[in-house]
Symmetry: C2
Subunit: 123 residues, 2 copies
């Protein structure tokens, strides 16, 4: 890995890094990355892991991540064909921050729930 | 701060932590949190920092973050009234992971751009 250097500014609309943050801010992207963190997963298993997502939207999300070089799609020539998705090296390098977000969410969700309940009581 | 313990599983549809990840996966949430990382910001300045977002959608995003206890809205009784947004303590605790994502995006966006160009050449 290279040393960390800031080469962009996500708050500049034309900075490529902003496109990356916008990709991460798409509806299912974070959950798909999290679902792939332990290794290759087949499409149907991935859909079961994510839950309510439709096949069409999950396919769009995976194509976006593939296009960005974060996810690798492999088709095994079996009958029926087996299709697996896994993180690329670049995708794996993203898992540090993504997994920190996952951990934060799992640890702090009760504070969020409490804040929501308090806000709803006031309104 | 408490010690880190996983109290949830973001891949379980009914787990509150999943709602948190889904909130972070809303279109402008990450960029708003990043824009607020250095301190209180007025609505108009925030809109200029984020860029293309409409006032209506930025207001919705901020209300969601306020409802979650991540952002505090303060109205100063001036003429015209001054409205500022800032991270709460809970919001500040989220900035470790969010800032790691920002740094990763700023450092690695050129790899994403290269992957996109390579994919576009193939198709």
């Amino acid at each position: 890995m290279e040393s960390i250097e800031a080469t962009g500014d996500v708050l500049k609309p034309n900075c490529p890094s902003r496109m990356v943050v916008e990709r991460l801010g798409e509806r299912w992207t974070l959950l798909v990355l999290i679902a792939l963190r332990r290794g290759p997963v087949r499409f149907t298993a991935l859909r079961e892991m994510i839950g309510v997502v439709t096949p069409k939207v999950l396919t769009q999300t995976l194509r976006g991540l593939e296009h960005d070089g974060l996810v690798l799609r492999t088709v095994y020539p079996e009958i029926p064909p087996r299709v697996e998705y896994q993180l690329t090296g670049l995708g794996i390098s993203l898992m540090g921050p993504v997994d920190a977000l996952r951990q934060w969410s799992e640890t702090n969700s009760r504070h969020i729930v409490a804040a929501r309940e308090a806000a709803d009581r006031q309104s």
